[in-house]
Symmetry: C2
Subunit: 313 residues, 2 copies
């Protein structure tokens, strides 16, 4: 077996603590060698730096980094890591804009390092069986409902409503990463309405009607103000039965009968991402699928904008 | 010499009459065999159809089509033409969204036909010399000013303010097609403000600050309400002199001294596009650079929106 990939974690916010640290700790292909954060927060017995430059200037040997910062600063950090010959794991969305993500792909190829634009929801337990089931059927129509309480899931994270923070499209891009994986044909934005709070820059809700090239409608509702029951569901009707992918892809039912269920996303999504990243590094390959980001950009390009009530935490 | 490419013109609006008809008439590589328009408007002695299906059902033999419709309907028409084995010339922007344009590229490759996403401004007389001059210098900063009177240039064209009509980005994408050609490094949207009239869906003005990866600022102002002197200018400062590309790329000056000027865009831009399209068809190749469209999508993705006064013709 190869020696472990020496990885540094950059951006020590909620997602790093909740998902990346346990996934790395449980994967023998990786050895966590340092953390980097502008806001402090050391881990026991592990070198800590307040910048990527400080990490590079240290005697810690690094093969790869995982970037868990907000998307606004991701491109510059990733470019710096690529230039140092480090492999790069990007949290979703891979950058704040398509031009940034495209430039990173070009740069990684030129430097010969692996770049991985991760989409964790694609590794939820129900996604692959849903894809296989839909591939053998003819889609009639579908609905996407991604409705969560931003105050619960992103408490006080103002960056999410800043330009480049994606607003409700921060979770919605998870739905779109699944939809672009399980539906067999490309989705086109037919119409969209985006709701932006009067005191913020990014969306708090959106309605989008997609169609595929055969005219099938995929109706999506994205909402950041959902209280009570939280919903991350995709439902589809086909020529032979119905499919419900719920809980962010974690549970799957065909015609109402459960076909797949995961106990705990910790046990599946991020461990699968790190297994994939290790494969890419070992194979000298990259995986940068920008389709979900492209759809979010298309929605903004074609949407009618509605200014709604101010949002405060 | 090969026999001429038998071409049909689809969408007989202003751009078809002003630019495509004279360019085709003067290029021996093409023979115009039919026109298609939902709104009528026959040309003397030429077969006319009210749909692409009617054209296909006729005994007119077609090798290629040029699509001059508004962008909202372009994808479906282009897909239909590709499926019939026709080569396709797309007016700019190539589609209403990136997913649509990407799907057309995939479809044309699968069908083995040539797809040409045209950017007419890239063929203005000053563009190529500007690119060559900038390639040998270090950029300091640049400004883009694209300010025209929509009432003069697009009188009554309501589609331009509908979703997918691009608003002020219909002309602005010409500026971006030049900028992405002449500046040697990718442009990233650092910040943007888009102004949308209260009674419309698309932008009437925008301010965008781009930066390249070296931090050079490219400051852009796009305005659809410019009266008096109309401006389509890109100015750049470098380590060795200044460059002014004016009149949509038609005139070029280095350090104030004229380096290139065209008498008439009719004489250069569209004839060059048709020469390129003929090359692509003869070579069995496609040319689909989506970078300008990607930048427009990135601007919308990252912009702050400001709702401004209603717009009426």
């Amino acid at each position: 077996m190869s020696p472990p990939i020496r990885i540094a974690l950059i951006g020590m916010g909620k997602i790093a603590h909740d998902q990346h640290l346990p996934a790395i700790a449980n994967d023998p292909a990786f050895e966590l060698v340092a953390t980097v954060s502008r806001h402090g927060g050391t881990l026991d017995a592990l070198p800590f730096f307040d910048s990527i430059e400080a990490l590079a200037a240290s005697d810690v040997v690094v093969d790869a980094v995982a970037l868990c910062t907000p998307p606004q600063v991701r491109r510059a950090l990733a470019a710096s890591a690529i230039d140092r010959g480090w492999h790069v794991f990007l949290e979703k969305p891979p950058a704040a804009t398509l031009a940034e993500a495209t430039a990173l792909r070009t740069r990684a190829a030129a430097q010969g390092v692996s770049l991985f634009a991760s989409w964790h929801s694609r590794h939820a337990a129900g996604v692959e069986p849903a894809r296989a089931w839909l591939a053998e059927r003819t889609l009639r129509d579908a609905t996407i409902t991604w409705a969560e309480d931003v105050r619960h899931w992103h408490p006080g994270q103002d960056w999410i409503f800043e330009p480049g923070g994606f607003g409700v499209f921060d979770p919605a891009i998870n739905a779109l990463s699944i939809a672009t994986r399980i539906f067999p044909h490309p989705l086109f934005v037919e119409s969209a309405e985006i709701e932006i709070p009067a005191n913020r820059a990014a969306a708090i809700a959106a309605n989008v009607l997609f169609r595929d090239e055969f005219g099938c409608a995929i109706d999506a509702r994205f909402d950041f103000l959902q209280t009570g029951h939280q919903r991350w569901d995709i439902a589809a009707r086909t020529d032979r039965g119905t499919m419900t992918l719920a809980e962010g892809g974690g549970t799957l039912a065909f015609d109402g009968a459960t076909a797949a269920a995961q106990d705990d996303e910790l046990a599946t999504e991020y461990p699968a991402l790190y297994r994939r990243f290790a494969e890419l590094v070992r194979d000298g390959a990259s995986e940068v699928d920008l389709t979900p980001l492209q759809l979010v950009a298309d929605i903004h390009l074609k949407a009618r904008i509605r200014i709604v009530d101010p949002f405060d935490w």
